[in-house]
């Protein structure tokens, strides 16, 4: 194809620096992240939703009773991310997993920081690893790492 016939094309970049106001419940969860704590919220049947929503994910009724949950839990399912998306908080390959924290009745989506998919298995126990610099953002949680024996005992 000659230069003349080559179609004209251009890169179109759509870029916005969104600032989202959180409201009380999401704001409290983010505040917790900044303080290296994880919070959930109680549903009407007493079960705990992590991360917390202002409303029940089925009945839509307002939820107001926030509770702290463990920083460790169980991998319910996982996949392997390689390479990570350019805008994701991670530079290295990692697992993406649904993790059910002890004290929670639902699971949260986050990374499990291991070197290869062979180190991953459903049901493995993991514990939170925090960033040094925390601002109140879901990525303050660097991810989860395999729980050590000492932590188990």
């Amino acid at each position: 194809m000659s230069e003349l016939e080559k179609p004209l094309r251009a890169e179109l970049t759509v870029e916005y620096p969104f600032t989202r106001t959180t409201g009380t419940v999401i704001g409290a969860f983010m505040t917790g992240l900044r303080e290296k704590r994880l919070f959930g919220i109680k549903r009407s049947d007493g079960s705990v939703l992590v991360p917390p929503l202002e409303y029940d994910p089925v009945s839509s009724e307002p939820l107001t009773e926030m509770v702290e949950v463990s920083q460790s839990g169980v991998v319910e399912t996982w996949t392997w991310i390689d390479p990570p998306r350019p805008q994701s908080p991670w530079d290295d390959p990692h697992a993406l997993a649904l993790i059910r924290l002890d004290g929670s009745d639902t699971s949260m989506l986050h990374a499990v920081l291991v070197g290869s998919p062979s180190e991953m298995r459903t049901g493995m126990r993991v514990t939170a690893q925090w960033k040094e610099e925390r601002v109140g953002h879901i990525a303050d949680l660097e991810g989860f790492i395999q729980e050590t024996e000492e932590a188990d005992s």
């Binding site: 004209l8 890169e11 870029e15 620096p17 600032t19 009380t24 409290a28 983010m30 704590r37 107001t64």
Partner: protein
């Protein structure tokens, strides 16, 4: 009447913030930038239209239904939804169908001094207007129906872009009567 500043009854129960963080400055907002990149490829008729600018030609698209000429080419006649394949070369002269004197700077155009005049330019031979900058006269001299002609970049600066036309300048010819100016003129001459 409802008080807009207090929550509806169903949302009036306060959220219990756990003690461990209740005394702290709460997070009120999060930043989540988004960047999406698209590969923008103009349709073939627009490709042809852009290329023709490099030889100082302006192409329009003639409708097979009634010969109406659209510029820039849209590939279809928007009144009938039929495909258009016939290109026609248009004059670089026309009239101001309508205009706006803008006093605000616009993103990405630091080169434009405000206030500036953007206008719907109705080329001779075209049935609709397209946007262009009017200069070469005082802003308050611009009027509906004013005859204008393209001012092109120097030949060596020409590219495959409508930006080859720097602006539209008055020709000094007698103005088009207001009732014959702009998109409305079509209906009058054809009814």
């Amino acid at each position: 009447m409802t008080d807009p500043n207090s929550p509806p009854a169903s949302l009036s129960q306060e959220v219990e913030i756990p003690e461990s963080i209740s005394g702290l400055e709460p997070v009120r907002s999060v930043r989540s930038p988004i960047r999406l990149v698209y590969d923008f490829v103009p349709s073939p008729p627009v490709q042809e239209y852009l290329r023709s600018y490099s030889t100082k030609k302006i192409l329009g698209h003639r409708s097979p239904i009634d010969g109406a000429v659209f510029v820039p080419p849209r590939g279809v006649d928007p009144r009938h939804g039929v495909l258009i394949e016939e290109s026609v070369e248009l004059s670089d002269k026309g009239h101001v169908g309508n205009f706006c004197v803008t006093h605000l700077p616009i993103p990405g155009r630091d080169d434009l001094d405000t206030p500036y005049v953007s206008a719907w330019i109705h080329l001779d031979g075209a049935s609709v207007g397209f946007l262009g900058l009017v200069a070469g006269c005082e802003n308050d001299e611009v009027h509906i129906g004013m005859r204008v002609q393209a001012v092109w970049k120097e030949d060596e600066e020409l590219g495959n872009t409508a930006e080859n036309i720097l602006y539209w300048k008055p020709t000094g010819e007698p103005a088009v009567p207001i009732e014959k100016a702009g998109n409305r003129a079509w209906g009058q001459t054809n009814e």
